[in-house]
Amino acid sequence: MAFVTANWNPLGEAFYRKIELYEMGWNLRDGLRDCLVAAAPYGGPIALLKEPQRRSPSARPQLEIYSSSGVSMASFAWKSGPVKQLGWTVSDDLLCVQEDGTVLIYDLFGGFKRHFSMGNEVLQNHVMEAKVFHSPYGTGVAIITGAFRFTLATNIDDLKLRRLPEIPGLQGAPSCWAVLTQDRQSKVLLANGVDLFILDNTACTPVTPPGLSPQANSIVHMTVSFSYKYLALFTDSGHVWMGPTNLKDKLSEVETKVRTPPRQMVWCRRPKSQQPSVVIMWDRHLLVAGECKDTIQAGLSTVAVSVLDPMFGYHLDDESVLVPELDGVRIISGTHHELLQEVPAACEEIFKIASMAPGALLLEAHKEYEKESQKADEYLREIKEQSLLGEAVRQCVEAAGYEHEPETQKSLLRAASFGKCFLSNFPPEQFVSMCRDLRVLNAVREYTVGIPLTHSQYKQMTVQVLIDRLVYRKLYPLAIEICRYLKTPEYQGVSRVLKHWACCKVQQKEEADEVIARAVSVKLGEAAGISYSEIAAGAYECGRTELAIKLLEFEPRSGEQVPLLLKMKRSQLALSKAIESGDTDLVYTVVTYLKNEMNRGDFFMTLRNQPVALSLYRQFCKYQEQDTLKDLFNQDDDHQELGNFYVRASYQEGKLEARLSLLQSAVDEYNKAKNEFAAKATEEEMRLLRFQRRVEEEKGERVLGYSLQDTMHCLLAAGLHKQAEQLYKDFRVPDKRYWWLKLSALAEKEDWDELEKFAKSKKSPIGYLPFVEVCVKHHNKYEAKKYVSKVNPEQKVKAHLAVGELEGAAEAAIERRSEPEISLVLSRCSPATDSAILDRLNRARATATKK
């Protein structure tokens, strides 16, 4: 503990520290010499391409992938073209940019995923230099070709190549360049001598960094910070200029006294730090340059220089690589992996020598407490007197997050926990979540996992992404443990990991379909929100159709199974699944697909076994393809429906002949369907149509298309009694019907003579009451009365009443001695005018009821 500050170096008003993360597990004979190296940010993997310039088939370059702790993950001989640049994507895929502009993508384990080209121009002029960069839009690639033109792709997953405009006055290669993300656009910043240009999609704009030392003749190196907010330029005069990327002002300029161009230069800046600083590396020398109020000469010795120096240096034992992070710089060498960062404020406050900050006192108090010394109380009092105990606890918790050593973390957290005992109402969340976070971080920093994340990086990256990274590394058990430990909702956590596991599992070619399917279902059985169809899709993609089908069986939502089944050409199965899902739209999708895939006969056969699909398709055909509909019925020998189809068609047909022939087809079909009734009815319709045409031609009466009844009515109304009579006989119209019809037709015409003749022609099958009523309806009481006498006794009362003959009604009622009828007549009598009838009726009623 006492040595916490031993690795601290002051710079300006802050301290910098270098922490050892790992002793590298790899065994590199020549260290990093003659290697192309790419290390992913956020403690990501490291890729090495040894001796990249080798070309002969006998001695190929070796590509190796390691975790941050140097544990080997993949290693293979590079057999493709010469590689110019390596880089990692945000989803831990390795990009290898070849000289010809082809970019090959490999996964963490060296498995080839895909490749893409950066375009023809690059192919012709070759890649001179390439850079892989990250932005909110994904991972991008920028290339400068042998013809000094830039080509840029902002997101390799949605590849849109952009060739940037030409730079005026550029004769040779630019002295240095960098990619910026500004105004939601990726741009290139480049230096040609001392001139700076910004290249965007449309233009090349010259810019000048304010206050750049006049001694400079050329900018030889430049770097942009992790957040794209800051820019550092290194000039041939040995000056380092630092400022914001918008070049509106200058933060600092330091003279390094080294004129050789550096090997690498990166920003090293905490997110909230006030102080800008860059780390510059030459072959064996590392320099941290910070803010400079006045340029003070600094000796380039190995150890730190005096206070307020704008820089300090380290000696490097070995060839190294700098990896910029959001809160520091990682330094990877052949043997070690270190983190260089500004000491966070909380740590500084606590560990600075002779610090009286509350956190420092609390830590001290706890130490004394553990020693069982009464001094603990003194320290504690001192904090409490200033009522800073809460602040002290907070400081300790925060500092614990910044410490890499579990021991230091523990002592800080213990101190915090100790301090908390003397506080009431102190919110526990910060402490609890810090403990959780640290547990997770320590687990992933573990040598075998090798992800040296800092707390700030972890917070920036989020748990979800961390889980993803673990999944990419196939560290499924750890990922699941972390999800469970953090109580991540199943859907985002455990289920997601299991899904990836399953997708990976299905690619294991050596295992049998059965075994894999069972293993997957056993493991995934109870997890919520698992989509078996996605896993099945994975299986299908690596050519295991049978396995995919087996896996699909586990998918509870049948709708989800359909698209994949279609893709696998299991259309029959897809159709039944679609129907099972109850989603008609899905059924329809499959039906359309089948229609295009199969020949007509097979298609119809398939539909025949699926009534839902069939009725759906029929619906569609009804509006779109009438003929198909007919074929469909034909195929099924559904004569009944065919008959109906022809009848329907006949109504859409204007011409009589066509109509008749359609009806004839209908008759044939109905006969085949043994539906004699329909056949006969249709035949009659044809007969009727022909008859109607004849009437139209001969008599000019418009009756075509009328029903039998309407036709007769029309004929009778027109006085064509003979024709009506003929229909009546030909179509065996029931007597009653004919009588009703003729009766109303004649009454409507008010042809009372004809009506009388008709009434007398023979005995009416409907009785004579209708005659009475129809006359009354047409306001002809005189005619009505003629028929009253003919009405049978049961209805006589009604008949009399209809014509308004109370007396007759009364007589009839009395004669029939029917009580209800008497009452009926009574209700129509008014005491004023019909008193005589009233009396008689009342008397009759009395006798009727007596009986």
Binding site: G582, D585, Q619, F620, Q624, Q640, V647, R648, L708
Partner: protein, 617 residues
């Protein structure tokens, strides 16, 4: 009404939220097509749209001109066309034709189709086949539910009935599921679900799937129970003549989307008046559930009350008069206007319905329901057909006869059919085919035929689908079993007793005391028994497919049900009639429930049978 209220019925939730949601979404969709545009609206979406957003609102969002969708070429000068349509193949085809015509004429416009309530893949296929897929952008207006009144919500999908039950096309099932899901997420979670019928079961399953996919929010439910019922469980009820005021209004004047147009014969002027019929109309609210024979006395009482209220102003001083004019007069005037309208309507109904033949019609219906003097009924129907009284009414009687008698005797079937064709034309051959398929009008068959068909089908395909097929076929040739059901559920009260229609005893008052609607009786029984236990025989006769699910551990309440569980959402798949709604309102008052009726559309006998005609296509 002189009801003894058992318990205070709970308050109904506020459904205006549904309208607001629909409106906001529509506006959002219109804004997606910025600039001036002409809007083409599907005819049967016009009235529902009117309830959601009026013309002013549409104009505010840069709708220039409004057109009705008619299947003919359009005249529009606007360079942006927006189509608000149902997802129907013909309409989409029409839009495609417009686009193609514009292309041919070298006219460039932007087109957008808004499908309501959802789009179907079939529609997109049409656009693709017609080669305009890229030219037309499509969107969905998730306008599933239109609250017609405080307790009636309609999906306004009349075609659900035909598509689902006749054509066997289940495309609307997802819509029903989504609609239920919407209600569930706004007013649920529903803790109990009952249901009967194939569509009910499917809707339930689809809804549960949606619930499980979506996130679950714990909230205090407004509605606790939901009852799903298929229309084909009970075809008899909607086929009966309606005699309760609201139902009668629908039978005679055809209530459209909650509003009715009274012609000159009602308004006793030369103008027609459009009136909203809902609980806002105080007069209507009091008589809507009354048997028609009571309506006149109610109205005259009302008139007298109104007169007294008017008379108050006599003997008032100036100040009183002032308050009277400012506070009461307007209300009185309004009431006066409504009263005279309803009196006019009642008179017009009286003219039509008190005639001898209507009484005879009712008598026949009642005889059919009771299974009494069937021969006379057949004779009456025959005469009805012969005299061409009414195409739909004849058909209705035929269907009632078939449903109540488990099919017609072959001899009757043939002769009645032949006569019907003679009266109304041979095109009704297709109507009869449809009715037969639906099981509305069938020929009595020897019992084993069905099973023979089933086993034949079963051999054709594998076992899994066979079950489904059998399902489908049993609906083809199913028996209605009405008589047995009626006995078991005592749907027809004992005749001979006088039924005082002014003081209803049970739901039978809806049909003059002659018949308790089967659908409502089922709901009553299931709620009473808290499930289907004891109704096994009944469900067997109704082709099964019943279910009762209690979610979570909310059960266990002993006897006393919570308020939310006494609010019951009844969803009719395939439509319901106003009489059924009145019956449920009555049941609610009796038992302390509140029913909310969600229906795919408001149905009556005429609409139901018109959907069976094939001539409209």
């Amino acid at each position: 009404m002189a009801h003894s209220r058992r318990r205070d019925a709970p308050e109904l939730p506020d459904f205006s939220l549904l309208k607001r949601l629909a409106k906001d979404q529509l506006i959002y969709l219109l804004e997606q097509l910025p600039g001036r545009k002409d809007l083409f609206i599907e005819a049967d979406l016009m009235s529902p749209l009117d309830r959601i957003a009026n013309v002013t609102t549409l104009k505010q969002h840069e709708v220039d001109k409004l057109y009705k969708v008619e299947n003919k070429p359009i005249v529009s000068m606007c360079d942006q066309l927006c189509f608000l349509i149902r997802p129907r193949i013909q309409t989409v085809k029409w839009v495609a034709d417009i686009v193609n015509a514009d292309k041919a004429a070298g006219k460039f416009r932007r087109y957008k189709i808004i499908f309501s309530p959802q789009k179907f893949y079939a529609c997109e296929t049409i656009l693709e086949e017609q080669g305009v897929y890229g030219d037309v952008s499509t969107d969905e207006w998730a306008f599933y539910l239109l609250p017609l009144d405080d307790d009636i919500i309609s999906l306004e999908l009349p075609e659900f009935f035909r598509d689902n039950f006749l054509e066997g096309d289940q495309r609307w099932m997802m819509t029903a599921g989504s609609a239920l899901h919407l209600l569930h997420s706004l007013y649920g979670p529903f803790s109990k679900a009952y249901g009967i019928g194939r569509s009910a079961k499917m809707t339930y399953a689809l809804w549960r799937e949606l619930v499980e996919e979506g996130e679950q929010r714990a909230r205090k439910p407004d509605i606790g129970t939901v009852f799903l019922i298929d229309r084909d469980v009970d075809f008899v009820t909607p086929l009966c003549s309606q005699v309760v005021y609201e139902g009668l209004m629908d039978d005679i004047f055809r209530i459209k989307c909650g509003s009715v147009e009274f012609g000159p014969d009602v308004t006793s002027s030369d103008k027609s008046v459009k009136v909203m019929l809902n609980s806002q109309d105080k007069v209507f609210n009091e008589i809507r559930n009354e048997h028609f024979s009571n309506v006149f006395s109610f109205l005259s009482q009302k008139a007298r009350n109104l007169q007294t209220a008017y008379d108050k102003r006599r003997g008032m001083d100036i100040k009183q008069m002032k308050t009277f004019v400012s506070e009461e007069l307007k209300g009185l005037k309004q009431e006066h206007r409504l009263l005279s309208l309803h009196i006019g309507a009642s008179e017009s109904v009286m003219k039509k319905k008190t005639k001898q033949d209507f009484q005879e019609l009712l008598k026949t219906e009642h005889c059919l329901l009771e299974g009494f003097e069937i021969r006379e009924c057949i004779a009456y129907i025959e005469e009805h057909i012969n005299r061409q009284v009414s195409m739909i009414d004849s058909l209705r009687l035929l269907c009632l006869l078939s449903l109540t008698e488990n099919g017609l005797l072959p001899k009757d079937y043939r002769s009645l059919k032949a006569q019907y064709l003679q009266s109304y034309g041979i095109e009704h051959l297709l109507t009869f085919a449809n009715l037969r398929q639906l099981g509305l009008l069938v020929e009595q068959q020897p019992g084993e035929t069905l099973t023979v068909m089933e086993s034949k089908v079963g051999k054709l395909v594998n076992d899994k689908t066979a079950g489904k097929l059998t399902d489908a076929f049993s609906s083809l040739a199913k028996k209605s079993n009405f008589r047995a059901l009626s006995k078991r559920l005592s749907l027809v009260p004992k005749s001979g007793e006088d039924y005082d229609l002014r003081i209803p005893r049970d739901m039978a008052y809806i049909f003059s005391g002659a018949y308790v609607p089967l659908s409502c009786r089922l709901i009553e029984q299931v709620l009473e028994r808290d499930g289907w236990t004891g109704l096994e025989e009944v469900t067997r006769m109704l082709n099964g497919n019943e279910f009762a699910v209690t979610a979570g551990n909310s059960g266990g309440e002993s006897g006393l049900k919570t308020d939310t569980q006494r609010i019951i959402l009844v969803m009719f798949l395939g439509g319901c009639s106003y009489s059924e709604i009145s019956a449920l309102r009555f049941l609610g008052k009796e038992r302390g429930y509140k029913f909310i009726v969600v229906t795919t559309a408001i149905l009556n006998s005429a609409r139901m049978l018109e959907a069976m005609l094939d001539s409209h296509m």
